[in-house]
């Protein structure tokens, strides 16, 4: 059942650019990775980072800057961005991780605002205008995949690697301790662990993955802007995660796809898109607590049980 689903997803992912505008698909994939990074913290450690966009946006700028100025290959540019974000994640984690709940959210929010203004002021970012003309450099220095159709497959490959990496982290000895911390941090500490160290590591990993998304986004759109660092993006990723369903790997991925596709559809209505988002969030919170994927899973279980009776 599970493998069949994965197989279908693979076929669909490979075939989609023949039917749908590749840039929209790539945009979805960027946010699939980004939402997964956020879910790693909220879904698996119970940390609500209300500043996740700082890791996305910072990496977008760093990736863009590296690719524009050094001529390194594509994957190294994206990796550079992700690593810088990981360092920021470790630092924010170090400061914020001793707090929990709303205080943690506030501290991460404050950091994100600070990063926003730092990037606004910095020379290399192009300030209000953003950073233009980021090249889709050759992959491994040899493979030219710069047209959108081929580039989709590059982005798809990075997405798959990023998701596999997250899967590994969640289903690792480390991931098991994270789940325990999410449930009862005091108890974990009383068993001889240092929960704050696990949380700092989780922040670092999450920031790294968000950074991958940022680098992907910078090369897909070939520009980086302050929007990527803004609190609206930090908020949007919360919406995606809750909409899709917390604490399952696939939930936030589905949520990201729905929100991006919906934004694309609603774009012609301008500001109304935001209102629609708000309404949807409220509806989800009220009626679909487990998110789309969670509710679908529950429905399937119910149907099976009925069949079994």
């Amino acid at each position: 059942m599970r493998w069949a689903l994965i197989l279908i997803a693979a076929v669909v992912a490979l075939a989609l650019p023949f039917f749908v505008y590749p840039v929209l698909l790539m945009s979805i994939l960027c946010f699939v990775v980004f939402a997964t990074s956020f879910n790693l913290l909220l879904g698996y450690v119970g940390l609500l980072c209300f500043g996740q966009a700082m890791f996305l946006g910072l990496s977008a700028y760093v990736t863009g800057y590296v690719l524009k100025t050094t001529g390194v290959s594509l994957e190294l540019g994206i990796l550079a961005g992700a690593l810088v974000s990981a360092v920021l994640g470790a630092f924010v984690g170090f400061v914020a991780v001793r707090r929990s709940g709303i205080q943690f959210a506030m501290i991460t929010f404050a950091f994100a605002q600070f990063v926003y203004f730092a990037l606004l002021r910095a020379e290399f970012t192009g300030g209000e205008n953003g950073m233009q003309g980021i090249p889709r450099s050759k992959l491994f220095g040899v493979i030219d995949a710069s047209d959108s159709f081929s580039f989709y497959y590059v982005i798809l490959a990075i997405t798959v690697l990023a998701i596999l990496f997250c899967y590994r982290v969640i289903h690792s000895p480390f991931g098991e301790i994270l789940r325990a911390i999410r449930d009862k941090e005091d108890r974990v500490e009383s068993l001889g662990f240092r929960p704050e160290r696990f949380k700092i590591m989780a922040m670092t990993i999450s920031a790294f993955v968000a950074g991958l998304a940022g680098g992907m986004k910078a090369t897909v759109f070939q520009f980086a802007t302050l929007t990527d660092v803004s609190w609206t993006v930090s908020g949007e990723v919360i919406l995606m995660t809750l909409l899709g369903g917390l604490g399952t790997l696939s939930g936030p991925m589905v949520g990201a796809a729905i929100v991006i596709a919906m934004n694309d559809e609603l774009a012609k209505f301008g500001e109304w898109a935001l209102i629609a988002q708000g309404v949807i969030l409220i509806l989800v919170i009220l009626f679909f607590r487990r998110g789309v994927v969670g509710e679908a899973g529950a429905l399937i279980r119910r149907l099976r049980e009925r069949k079994a009776d």
């Binding site: 690792s172 991931g175 301790i177 789940r179 449930d183 005091d186 240092r194 590591m201």
Partner: protein, 254 residues
């Protein structure tokens, strides 16, 4: 100061102040190696706070704590646990959405130093499962390793907590009201279990059920209003006028 290893655990004048209020004040404890020591007293007497101080969950305002003669007053909770003193909680503290086996395995990971390996598959710690099963068998949970902890009955949750604590092979175990909220049918097995795991260990137990206290404990310290009212054997304590007045009289609301 001379180290004294006759005592597994020693508290010298420990106290904890919350604002102007002393929840625990000037408490001395001397707990000999291998004994079972009960801490009793009315609700709010400061028993849980004492445990929090001993395991450094709270930083003492005053006093000194010695584990096997070594001063642990400056250590953090996780270090105290690694030195061999592990506590259970008054409120049930299982990892509810994990399986019974995983609960114990988390604790086993503490001793095996693989816990930071985010790049290893979970199968890399399956070698801990055998030990986890042994521990589960010890507490009578070998039949349900793959059940979610949330689905266990209350009594079995407490047994799981004991298995989890035992996974660290602690020299000193602090049990905070292990039978609280249990029906009669569960109390007897838990008492037997505590007796069984006390072999080769020192146990400090906070307990309201006096029959459990009398069966298990070598000595008893009675707390009242954060201070030690008296210390002695069950016979001495239960016949003491002050204890009867302070505690035994109010036992119904315990």
């Amino acid at each position: 100061m001379a180290e004294n290893r006759d005592y597994a655990l020693e508290a010298r004048g420990i106290g904890k102040q919350f604002g102007a209020f002393w929840a625990v004040k000037d408490v001395d404890l001397k707990i000999p190696q291998g004994s079972i020591h009960a801490l009793i007293g009315p609700n709010g007497a400061g028993k849980t706070t004492c445990f929090n101080l001993l395991t450094k969950t709270l930083q003492p305002s005053t006093g000194q704590i010695l584990l096997n003669g070594e001063d642990i007053s400056a250590l953090r909770t996780s270090e105290v646990a690694r030195r061999g003193m592990v506590r259970s909680f008054q409120i049930s503290a299982t990892f509810t959405d994990m399986t019974v086996l995983e609960n114990v395995r988390v604790a086993l990971q503490s001793k095996h130093g693989h816990a930071y390996r985010f790049w290893s598959p979970i199968s890399s710690i399956y070698n801990l499962d055998a030990r986890a099963m042994e521990l589960l068998a010890d507490v009578g949970l070998a039949d349900v390793p793959h059940l979610k902890a949330a689905e266990l009955s209350y009594g079995r949750k407490r047994a799981l907590e004991i298995a989890t604590t035992l996974a660290l092979d602690p020299k000193v175990m602090l049990l905070d009201e292990p039978t609280a909220g249990m029906g009669h049918e569960d109390i007897e097995p838990i008492t037997q279990l505590i007796r069984k795991v006390s072999a080769g260990r020192t146990i400090v137990i906070v307990e309201h059920n006096l029959s459990v206290v009398s069966t298990l404990s070598d000595r008893i310290t009675v707390l009242q209003g954060g201070q030690v009212l008296m210390e002695g054997t069950y016979g001495e304590v239960s016949s003491d006028e002050r204890v009867i007045a302070a505690y035994m009289g109010g036992v119904e609301d315990a």
